[in-house]
């Protein structure tokens, strides 16, 4: 008893040992904020101020211009194919990995993460080596008049490759931590596989799923390195928004380049806002069910 008391007295009196002096706090906050605003806030401001430098008219014109419009369409197409495919893959992989026990599981997870640890340039290179004119399948493709590299299919493939792990990586740990009691209960009560998925699993993983999808989409629309290698940069045909922005910038057409960049930046801001919202939502859910968390921890 006496010991506890003296401890708490000490704690009350010893705040000097627990907190930094005011001046140190102030300094630390200032340095951190200076670093973050220099590297994060300033670039954001630059994008929009450069894009609107010559007024709204010029800005709108640079977006409506045919090559720009074609780049926007191609970007939407590539993301529109890559995101749903990787979504289906992510859900399937997470189901197989989280709900069942089998040997080699962690190796499989490492393989799924592989595209993250490969340089984007190498991701693109791989497809060139496979489908390019001097590649393994190149002569056969040329004989059958199929173009993959320097054409739209190559861009779609490279986009799928670089965004491959996003959804799976978000869902696997989430579903593993949730266990499968609820699904098993549903099964004992007579539910079928799809019923279990739609009624039990999906409501549990929806925020994680959404999180994975928006990150996947942001990367799909913004990928540069891999797409640049397979694209061939044909204006109006094989340029995505980031590639078009780069070309314009290298041609010293800075306003138009930043107009393209501003589109991607707006996408980024929406992505970050959604991510913060989902973080907040899922934290609320966790707080509402603290008992379950404790049970899991025990």
């Amino acid at each position: 008893m006496a010991l506890t008391k003296s401890n708490s007295e000490n704690r009350g009196g010893g705040t000097a040992g627990l907190n930094e002096p005011r001046i140190v706090r102030f300094l630390l906050i200032s340095v951190a904020l200076l670093f973050l605003s220099l590297f994060l806030l300033l670039p954001l401001i630059v994008v929009f101020s450069e894009a609107f430098k010559k007024g709204v008219e010029v800005y709108l014109e640079s977006i409506r211009e045919p090559d720009a419009a074609a780049a926007i369409r191609l970007t939407l197409l590539a993301a529109g194919i890559a995101v749903p495919l990787n979504l289906i893959f992510g859900v399937a992989a997470a189901w197989a990995i989280a709900k069942f026990q089998f040997p080699g599981k962690s190796f499989l997870i490492t393989l799924i993460d592989l595209p993250f640890s490969v340089s984007p340039v190498i991701s693109g290179l791989v497809y060139v080596l496979l489908f390019g004119l001097q590649g393994w399948l190149g002569p056969w493709l040329a004989a059958h008049d199929i173009k993959i590299i320097f054409a739209v299919p190559g861009i779609v493939l490279a986009t799928i490759f670089v965004t491959f792990p996003f959804v799976a990586r978000e869902l696997i740990p989430l579903m593993q931590s949730q266990g499968s009691e609820e699904e098993e209960a549903a099964r004992t009560l007579g539910a079928g596989g799809w019923q279990i998925f739609w009624r039990v699993t999906l409501p549990n993983i929806k925020w994680g799923l959404l999180y994975g999808v928006i990150l996947c989409n942001a990367r799909a629309m913004g990928e540069f390195g891999a797409v640049s290698v397979v694209s061939g940069h044909v204006r109006g045909f094989t340029n995505t928004i980031p590639l078009h922005a780069e070309i314009l910038y290298n041609e010293y057409n800075s306003t138009a380049a930043f107009a393209m960049a501003s589109l991607l930046t707006m996408l980024t801001l929406v992505t970050i806002a959604l991510k913060a919202l989902i973080d907040w939502k899922s934290r609320v859910v966790v707080r509402e069910a603290p008992d379950q968390d404790l049970a899991e921890a025990a």
Binding site: A32, R187, A276
Partner: protein, 276 residues
């Protein structure tokens, strides 16, 4: 302990989901990667060695690895500071700053590249201010470091933040009770707890920086031997239809980042074993 036996699951769908996972993984990732790297075996050892140890290649490794290490180190120090400030202190607009940390994850690298170039070029907002001081950033190796620092910024913050949040304040209280001053308890008690997360953040930032292409090519100026990173050299070879040269460099890059990551994992394992 709560579930002593569950070898067989009563849930359906293993065959379907596992089959699709393996099929899709092989089709998109494993077969293309495998086929590409079998390609290097068609070139002889001497040719491979000459390509990966050419003067231009060596200069590019030096820049890529050096700038990546420097950028990851900057991010480790300032990322630790940012995580500390975001977890421990209160200030207006904290939630906004916290959300903004993810910007480099979500911002396309090409956008980062042209924006940083515009900022640091001689007529840019920061460049106009730095160049009279004799500091040239855009189109020099410093620009490469700036770009790599930008893209690696969230890694350390996001790996350290949760550990710092979970850290039991009682251990700091105990240290204070035992007579440690603030600096001592931070250095001896808090820091060892954060070290594994710091190393993880460092290695993630480093791995990302080594492969980065988009943001760097725009700001570096791409002068051979001077500001040419390895990924760019790969693209240059590819553009000249030197497929085997590009593959050889790609293999060399993969091996190097693999060895470095292995080393960092060992370091992490050592720090866990030592302080756990």
């Amino acid at each position: 302990m709560s579930r002593p036996f569950r070898q067989h699951s009563i849930l359906p769908g293993f065959g379907l989901t596992m089959g699709f996972t393996i099929f899709y993984l092989s089709l998109i990732v494993l077969l293309p990667l495998g086929a590409a790297f079998l390609n290097t075996f068609t070139m002889g050892w001497t040719q491979f060695w000459e390509t990966v140890t050419g003067a231009r290649a060596l200069a590019s490794y030096r820049l890529s690895i050096g700038a990546s290490l420097l950028a990851a180190s900057i991010n480790t120090v300032l990322g630790l500071l940012a995580a500390w400030v975001l977890v421990r202190y209160d200030f207006p607009g904290k939630r906004w700053v916290d959300a903004l940390v993810d910007l480099p994850f979500a911002l396309p690298t090409a956008v980062a590249g042209i924006t940083l170039t515009a900022l640091f070029a001689g007529n840019g907002w920061l460049g106009a201010w730095l160049e009279p001081l004799g500091i040239k950033v855009a189109f020099t190796w410093l620009g490469v470091v700036v770009a790599l620092t930008f893209i690696g910024l969230p890694f350390v913050v996001r790996t350290v933040q949760p550990v710092l949040q979970e850290l039991d304040p009682e251990i700091e209280e105990a240290a204070a009770t035992l007579g440690a001053n603030r600096w001592q308890s931070l250095r001896r008690v808090v820091f060892p707890e954060l070290l594994p997360a710091l190393l993880t953040g460092f290695s993630l930032a480093f791995a990302r920086a080594i492969g980065e292409y988009g943001s760097v090519v725009l700001i570096s100026g791409n002068m051979p031997m001077k500001t040419e990173i390895t990924p760019l050299l790969i693209v240059t070879k590819l553009a000249n239809y030197d497929y085997s040269g590009a593959t050889a460099l790609a293999v060399a890059t993969l091996m190097m980042s693999f060895v470095l990551l292995l080393f960092i994992n060992l370091l992490q394992w050592w720090s866990r074993a030592r302080y756990a």
